[in-house]
């Protein structure tokens, strides 16, 4: 390299580093803005480590390039050897001790933050159960139960828009992470935190959002084919908005649970199929007061039928059915003719497999 250029290099290098530093300082040293109480502490630690690391980087990097350039062999140099220095014990002690002090300080600061984020409250403001599965998330609110005892849920469906977890601001939320298949990792970048969702473990952490907004999250542990699709959102809203959202969601969920919009009579022909000892529908519907037909497609070589009972307990209790279809082996399709039944909520089962094959049967327009 030409000498005139190299001689200025350490200065240019130093200026470059300072410029970079100014640039980085302008944007949180590269890290995203934290939006949680715990995240603020972690970001503070990050900034300390960043600037300490940056100082060490600058000093050592400048030293390396300074030595390499300042002490390079020049054309006019003779063949004589430079001073043969083998080492210096005092320097060794110095550059062992100083880094040791630095890491002790950093360790103490880390200790404080680790303790802070790992603290799990016995009485959180709200609990959320996160279920990771291949390849989406389902969020449930165990404190908010429906009339059938099930918690309110936001379920993710693979291939559809990512699910949104709605939570109130300034509330200690305890996330409880569960997986039934492989390991996932629940990661909200702007919380500066992630925790693995491990089958067989019940991982919990507390999180307190301190600003409202919509924040992106994603699975951070390779979990198979569509790992990259495991995106979710967290919508942090005010307490009032949260209550309003919860009321709305609960109402919709109650309607869903009781058959809801999806299960209304549509003509006098009801279709249902059986496979793998399961009905393909959880809910059937037929008009009230008129005869109708059930087209039953038994797709396997196992005995099945369709029977309609007054209540869920009626079949096991041995009560008579309102209608009892003929039991037959598939694969075969049979059309049952059913006499008129008064409006109301009934149950249909397969008499051969009453525990595995059952569902709701709405006659007419059920209320609620």
């Amino acid at each position: 390299m030409p000498r005139s250029k190299t001689r200025r290099s350490p200065v240019a290098y130093g200026l470059g580093i300072l410029g970079l530093a100014a640039l980085l300082a302008g944007c949180g040293a590269g890290q995203v803005e934290p939006v949680t109480e715990q995240g603020n502490g972690l970001h503070g630690l990050y900034l300390i480590v960043f600037w300490m690391g940056f100082a060490i980087f600058a000093i050592v990097e400048i030293a390396i390039f300074y030595m390499a350039i300042r002490y390079r062999r020049r054309k006019q140099d003779d063949e004589s050897l430079p001073p043969q220095i083998h080492g210096n014990d005092k320097l060794e002690i110095l550059w062992t001790t100083i880094p040791a002090i630095i890491v002790i300080v950093l360790f103490v600061l880390s200790w404080i933050q680790i303790t802070n984020v790992q603290e799990v409250s016995a009485d959180p403001g709200m609990r959320v159960e996160v279920q990771g599965f291949q390849w989406q998330w389902t969020f449930s609110y165990p404190d908010e139960t429906l009339s059938n005892g099930e918690p309110v849920q936001v379920a993710g469906v693979l291939g559809e828009a990512p699910p949104t977890l709605v939570v109130p601001v300034d509330t200690v939320i305890q996330m409880s992470l569960k997986s039934e298949d492989v390991i996932h990792s629940f990661y909200i970048p702007q919380a500066l935190y992630k925790l693995d969702v491990v089958p067989g473990l019940d991982n919990k952490f507390d999180i307190t959002f301190d600003e409202v907004g919509r924040f992106r999250g994603q699975c951070a542990e390779l979990c198979g084919l569509s790992h990259a699709q495991m995106v979710f959102f967290v919508e942090v809203v005010t307490q009032d908005d949260f209550r309003a959202w919860m009321t709305k969601t609960r109402t919709a969920a109650e309607r869903e649970a009781s058959g809801g919009d999806k299960c209304k009579p549509e003509g006098t022909k009801v279709e249902v199929a059986a496979k793998n000892v399961k009905f393909d529908k959880e809910c059937l519907a037929a008009p009230a007061g008129t005869p109708f037909q059930i087209v039953f497609d038994n797709q396997e070589a196992i005995d099945h039928n369709v029977a309609i009972y007054q209540s869920e307990e009626a079949q096991p209790a041995g009560e008579a059915a309102l209608f009892q279809g003929e039991i037959f082996k598939g694969p075969k399709e049979v059309t049952y003719d059913v006499d008129p039944i008064p409006a109301g909520k009934y149950y249909f089962v397969c008499d051969v497999h009453p525990t595995a094959m059952k569902g709701t049967f709405n006659i007419g327009e059920p209320e609620g």
Binding site: L42, I64, P189
Partner: protein
């Protein structure tokens, strides 16, 4: 100098023999037990796999260059499945089939020469160790013909790699390949340990041994500690997959965290297994081209020993986010390991102080190593805190961090070593002009590739995702990274060109073109089959240099006395 008129390494017409003269050339490749020949085979195999793994890396980078795309290459569409296969195979190839054999190549060639031995302690075991490497590679790549390779990441965490979620043969063959390669490394390690402990020439005390040999010794001890553990762990995974075991199956009382402990108990020392010999290379190159002895020889020995000792106690820092380990304990040990690593950095830098630094390709690569390893080391501190790791774990920050160590630093160190020792291995020098071009392109390339990854990780881009949504602001950083990766590829190709050109047409140099220090420079270039006709007296850590420069002998001997008489 110990040369002789009889040159069994030359053909009658005076050309340099690549092979032992005692065997037919083609047969020799298969039957040789000569450590130098085996080393070359290791190096060629490793370099082949570098090109394979590198091509995979370029495909991965191109796939990620823009958001929401599925790259379509002739005959290859990078779907989610293909992407997961690529990331698994890329890492496996680079770790087990490129870096590990490349280091075995350096060790095989130069450990016996540097300690003044005629060969390794167990030449046939050595040949066996080598031949298991291509066998492992074949087993691994057979999976492409039996229903697709493993796609569960190079960590193959259970249950993802278990029978339910990774059916098919991919993971089985992956386990088989790693078992073969693990046994190869373990046998190699035993060979190095015995060679170094038992075959040193008279006068070559432990504290006169070149630092490269020290690093190979300590690396081999680490291999003995860690490889058998992972091989056993993988056997358990194999039993889970094929014999209905449930070691790592939570549905049947198994424990998935146990697998991670076993894997990282190997996996973290593995990082030091990969970097220690390269630190050894740097500790040879920097003093020779600074024209000074290594600053703080003993500090290097102690630092390397401390890194190895601590290296076996930091594994769970890969598991900070599992919620199943003591984060504080492993944060503490991870912090501690930065101290001996720092000591090495400072000593290398101090070695250049007041030197007369020879700016050639080898030394420039070594300076590149120092500069890059520093970034890799400092970004490691962020992970070591545990607390910051909660944010950056499994993001591109970590990808950037370990690629700075295992690509940026490792490639610079490897090339420093290759430029330094190529004249010893062939009698010719690699082209300096191509070498300088390579070092510049490599320096720009690695920084352009891996620096943006820190920013991506800090902004929350997880690793191992096939694509990412538009509008997250990740596109331009990924594009930058991809562009850089092609520069890295260019630098590697430049070396390949340089190698083939210089092998035939490189400048013919003497036995000791660098006026170097250690025993390998006391023999001819390339060395004869039996290595040495005669050895110079070994009274210090740099016997060849002292023979050639009697004026510094007294000074070196004085230092040698101090080193040997005092434990610290």
């Amino acid at each position: 100098m110990a040369t002789t008129e009889v040159r069994p390494d030359l053909t009658p017409s005076g050309e340099i023999r690549v092979m032992s003269p005692y065997r037919a050339k083609w047969l020799g490749w298969f039957t040789t037990t000569d450590h130098k020949q085996i080393a070359k085979m290791y190096a060629v195999t490793a370099f082949f796999f570098l090109l394979v793994g590198g091509t995979m890396a370029l495909i991965i980078r191109t796939q990620l260059a823009a958001p929401e795309q599925t790259l379509s290459l002739p005959g290859l569409e990078v779907t989610e499945q293909v992407y997961n296969e690529l990331l698994t195979m890329h890492a496996t190839v680079m770790v087990f089939l490129f870096l590990t054999p490349m280091l075995a190549a350096f060790g095989n060639y130069f450990v016996p020469l540097q300690i003044g031995a005629a060969d390794m302690a167990f030449p046939r075991v050595n040949a066996f160790s080598y031949w298991m490497v291509p066998m492992g590679g074949i087993v691994l790549f057979l999976s492409y013909f039996t229903g697709g390779p493993a796609a569960a990441g190079w960590t193959s965490y259970s249950p993802l790699a278990g029978p339910q979620f990774s059916p098919g043969n991919g993971v089985n063959l992956w386990i088989g390949a790693l078992a073969i390669l693990g046994i190869s490394s373990t046998l190699g390690a035993i060979n190095f340990i015995v060679t170094i402990l038992k075959l040193r020439a008279p006068g070559m005390t432990m504290l006169r041994m070149p630092i490269f040999c020290w690093n190979m010794l300590i690396q081999s001890i680490l291999i003995l500690f860690s490889f058998p553990v992972v091989t056993a762990g993988l056997l358990l995974l194999w039993i889970d997959r094929n014999l209905g075991g449930a070691f790592f199956d939570p549905a049947n009382g198994g424990n998935v965290i146990l697998y991670q402990h076993i894997f990282w108990y190997f996996g973290h020392p593995e990082v030091y297994i990969l970097i220690l010999p390269l630190m050894g290379v740097i500790s040879e190159v920097i003093p020779v081209f600074s024209r000074k002895p290594l600053f703080g020889y003993k500090a290097f020995v102690y630092a390397t020993l401390s890194i190895a000792a601590l290296g076996t106690a930091v594994w769970a820092h890969h598991m900070f986010t599992t919620g199943a380990i003591d984060v504080k304990f492993f944060a503490a040990t991870s912090f501690l390991i930065s101290i001996p690593t720092g000591v090495k950095m400072f000593n290398w830098t101090a070695t250049m102080y007041k030197g007369k630094i020879w700016w050639n390709s080898s030394m420039l690569h070594a300076i590149g190593f120092l500069s890059m390893f520093l970034i890799g080391g400092i970004t490691g501190i962020f992970n070591a805190t545990g607390a910051i790791d909660f944010a950056i774990h499994d993001t591109y920050f970590v990808v950037g961090h370990f690629h700075y160590v295992l690509v940026s630093a490792a490639l610079f160190a490897m090339f420093a070593g290759l430029f330094y020792w190529f004249p010893k291995m062939t009698g010719r020098k690699l082209s300096e002009r191509l070498g300088i071009a390579q070092v510049i392109i490599l320096f720009i390339g690695v920084n352009m590739t891996f620096f943006p990854q820190f920013a991506l990780g800090l902004q929350g881009m997880p690793r191992r995702i096939q694509t990412y949504a538009d509008g997250l602001g990740w596109g331009w950083l990924n594009m930058l990274s991809t562009t850089g990766s092609f520069l890295v590829g260019t630098a590697v190709l430049l070396f390949v060109i340089n190698f083939f050109w210089s092998r035939k047409r490189g400048e013919i140099v003497g036995d000791n073109p660098w006026d170097a220090y250690t025993l390998e420079w006391a023999t001819t270039s390339p060395p004869p089959y039996y290595n040495f006709d005669a050895l110079p007296p070994i009274r210090t850590e740099r016997p060849v240099f002292d023979t050639n420069h009697p004026d510094v002998l007294a000074e070196d001997e004085e230092y040698d006395r101090r080193v040997s008489s005092h434990p610290l």
